[in-house]
């Protein structure tokens, strides 16, 4: 009985039929979309990596720029110090330098000399005066090497003569120092 009934149910089941076949066009579109999506994801991933890389590189470059700016500031401060009149005055004095107290001018129009040329000579009153003007920005000073200091000491003690330079008319004075 039950077998008959089962058979009857079996017979009552509808016949299975295959779905309509997907056309090749639709297939291509599907594949294209999937490939496109994958490509987009991959591109986004690559861009993201590159962007992150760029951010770190930029941070690194900024740090480098800061370091270089600091180095530049340090060097500028040293140059300013060494070029300051205060440092130049002190260095000139330690080198035994003497200002020219007898100016001579050459007038080009008639090639004549104006002024009385005299040789520079050393005495304490003529030496460049040491610096007295404060300068807190002068953090670097000229350091004379022992050789230069020794030479300058010799110059100071040499006591050059104060004899005037003799000239032929229309000629430039020749320095008596050698």
């Amino acid at each position: 009985m039950s077998a008959i009934q089962l058979n009857q149910r079996t017979f009552a089941m509808p016949t299975l039929s295959s779905l309509p076949k997907v056309s090749s066009t639709r297939m291509r579109i599907g594949v294209t979309v999937v490939i496109g999506l994958v490509a987009i994801v991959l591109t986004q991933l690559v861009l993201s990596i590159l962007t992150d890389q760029g951010a770190y590189e930029m941070a690194n470059l900024k740090a480098q720029r800061h370091e270089l700016t600091t180095s530049s500031d340090i060097l500028s401060a040293q140059v300013d110090s060494l070029a300051s009149n205060q440092n130049l005055a002190n260095t000139a004095q330690s080198l035994g330098m003497i200002p020219n107290s007898s100016p001579v001018f050459l007038r080009l129009s008639d090639q004549s000399l104006i002024g009385k040329p005299k040789a520079a000579y050393f005495d304490a009153n003529h030496q460049v005066s040491r610096n007295l003007v404060p300068n807190a920005a002068m953090t670097t000073r000229s350091h004379l090497t022992p050789t230069v200091a020794a030479v300058s000491n010799n110059v100071v003690t040499e006591q050059l003569p104060a004899a005037p330079v003799t000239l032929s008319a229309g000629e430039l004075p020749v320095s008596p120092t050698h």
């Binding site: 089941m13 509808p14 962007t51 760029g54 951010a55 770190y56 930029m58 941070a59 700016t69 600091t70 180095s71 500031d73 340090i74 500028s76 401060a77 300013d80 110090s81 070029a83 300051s84 009149n85 205060q86 005055a89 007898s102 100016p103 001018f105 007038r107 104006i114 002024g115 005066s129 610096n131 007295l132 003007v133 404060p134 300068n135 807190a136 920005a137 002068m138 953090t139």
Partner: protein, 586 residues
């Protein structure tokens, strides 16, 4: 049982499609709500969590001298801070070796760089705080040295500061800027509208790691750096004058001294030196008096340098000539007091030129009283006394020149030789500039202009020239002043062997602080011009309250030194002509 019944596939598909459609609709609805309805609020919250706004600091402009040498510019200095709670022994590399440094050793290293003691540093890094300032405004070199220590508990804040390469050489003129960046004195203050930049603003976004997201920056306001102020000062000549004054102030134990060099044809101030002066890098250590520019801000009774003005007035009004004769006794009674000459002498018979040569007080009164006081007052006004110059320096004084109607009998007489009126050093220097410039007084020029980043210079307005005396009067006055240098007891010490020099000394009494009477110390001056045949420079030197000299002999060495340097640096050839004789005694 029904459920087990195979359904219609089309029906199932429709049901599935409908469900998807409903779900999609819900998503679209929500999306619309996010993207359109709530978009503004969401964007705001999002940006706030990722965005950071920072100020782009504008750089303050430079101050440069006449030759483009930088006198003031902006640099970064650093505040050094520590987090005491993190301080402890660390492992570090020193001289290539791995070492463990105790807190004591770390403090000693910091102290060496900051020029402090180890104890000072230790006191600042003890405790459990998160912030302690160790030093403010340290240099880039110190900052670099501290960085190299690689101490993990040290932090650095960069601060924009000003540095002045020439220190006190130009301190009085250039002024200084406070730690908060506010200009406090001098050109820094006066020309702030040119020097100050405009800060900008930038907003950018950060990732979760705090790193700035590239291309996310939006500059809402671009920073505009300040422009450059160009002065007329020659910093080398200024230094030579300044150093000379420092030396002489020590030698004479004077309160202070000033020296001015004016270019006669342009009115440009090449030197405005004073000692002691403020070092703009370290203005905190200067006294209040040294922080200002006395050349513009201090007035005093000038003394005998005013006799030149009286003499020029006499000639210009036709009431005298260089050879007008007068008598000069040692003393003379005037209303309210007795006037003396500087040294005892028998009554002398002098011309106006002789009066200037000997700087006779009685002589100038005798000869000058021919001028009505109102006329003298008018001439003094024309010479620029009693009003500020067009430099309009911060805190500039106008001096004191009361109306002639208020002059009493004493003032009427003593004002002829520079007492009873007060002037600033720049006013008196410009009065002599008028004489050197054929009678035309120019307004002094301290600032050439404001230069933008393209190099375009916007000149600063300068007051109009004033014809004070005729050209003939100026020439005659100049000739008389040359005789002062050629034959005067003090004047001779101002002469230069290579150039013809004209000038006048002044030894003025200084009124007591309470305004009653005069003290025993003086203000000694010498003002002159060279070369006389075509004056290029006026040099004015003043020493205030020198203790080891009481006459203008204290001012002439500096005058000679500065004038000679100015002539040499200006390339002025030595004089080739000589003065003409003028009758001085009769």
């Amino acid at each position: 049982m029904t459920l087990l019944t195979p359904g219609d596939p089309r029906k199932r598909r429709r049901l599935f499609t409908a469900s998807i459609a409903v779900f999609a609709f819900l998503l679209v609805f929500r999306l619309f709500a996010y993207q359109v309805v709530d978009a503004g609020a969401i964007n705001k919250v999002s940006k706030e969590s990722r965005s950071k706004t920072r100020t782009i600091q504008a750089l303050r402009g430079d101050i440069i001298d006449a030759n483009g040498n930088v006198l003031a510019h902006s640099v970064y200095t650093y505040d050094i801070n520590a987090a005491p709670k993190n301080v402890g022994p660390i492992n570090a590399v020193r001289n290539g070796n791995d070492v463990t440094l105790t807190v004591d050793q770390q403090a000693a290293e910091i102290a060496r760089i900051l020029h402090a003691t180890k104890e000072e540093i230790l006191s600042k890094i003890s405790g459990n705080g998160v912030y302690s300032n160790l030093a403010k405004g340290v240099s880039a070199a110190q900052y670099r040295a501290l960085q190299n220590l690689q101490l993990p508990w040290l932090y650095y804040d960069p601060i924009l500061s000003r540095t002045y390469a020439e220190g006190a050489t130009t301190g009085g003129v250039v002024g200084f800027v406070g730690v908060d960046g506010m200009p406090l004195a001098g050109i820094e203050r006066q020309m702030n509208s040119c020097l100050a930049g405009v800060d900008g603003q930038e907003t950018y976004q950060r990732g979760v790691d705090g790193i700035r997201i590239p291309s996310s920056a939006v500059v809402s306001q671009r920073a505009e750096n300040g422009r450059t102020v160009q002065l007329t000062i020659n910093k080398d000549l200024q230094y030579l004058a300044q150093n000379q004054l420092y030396s002489e102030v020590q030698r004479y134990r004077a309160d202070w001294a000033t020296a001015i060099v004016i270019e006669v044809k342009t009115g440009k101030i090449l030197v405005a030196a004073e000692a002691p002066s403020v070092d703009s890098n370290d203005f905190g250590v200067a006294t209040d008096d040294s922080r200002k520019s006395r050349i513009f801000e201090t007035s005093f009774e000038p003394g005998s340098t005013m006799k030149t003005i009286t003499a020029a007035t006499l000639i210009d009004t036709g009431r005298g000539t260089p050879t007008t004769k007068t008598v000069a006794p040692y003393s003379m009674k005037i209303p309210g007091q007795v006037v003396y000459d500087s040294h005892n002498h028998p009554t002398e018979h002098l011309t106006l030129t002789g009066v200037l040569r000997d700087s006779s007080n009685t002589g100038i009164i005798n000869i000058g009283q021919a001028i009505p006081k109102q006329v003298r007052y008018d001439y003094m006004k024309k010479f620029g006394f009693g009003v500020k110059t067009s430099v309009n320096f911060p805190g500039e004084a106008s001096g004191i020149l009361r109306p002639a109607s208020l002059w009493d009998g004493t003032t009427d007489k003593v004002s002829m030789f520079g007492q009873g009126v007060s002037v600033t050093p720049i006013q008196m220097a410009m009065a002599y500039q008028a004489i050197a410039n054929k009678g035309v007084r120019l307004q002094p020029v301290l600032v050439d202009g404001c230069r933008d980043s393209s190099g375009n210079l916007s000149p600063v307005p300068v007051g109009a020239p004033t014809r004070v005396i005729s050209e003939s009067t100026a020439t005659q006055t100049l000739a008389m002043l040359e005789k002062v240098v050629e034959y005067g007891g003090i004047g001779k010490t101002a002469s230069l062997s290579e150039w013809r020099v004209a000038g006048k000394s002044g030894t003025a009494q200084i009124s007591n602080d309470n305004g009653i009477g005069y003290g025993y110390l003086h203000a000694v001056s010498f003002i002159g011009m060279a070369p006389v045949e075509d004056p290029k420079y006026v040099v004015a030197v003043t020493f205030f309250k020198p203790r080891t000299v009481s006459t203008s002999l204290g001012a002439t060495p500096s005058f000679r030194y500065i004038m000679k340097k100015a002539l040499l640096m200006g390339g002025v050839p030595p004089s080739t002509t000589k003065s003409k004789p003028i009758l001085m005694d009769w």
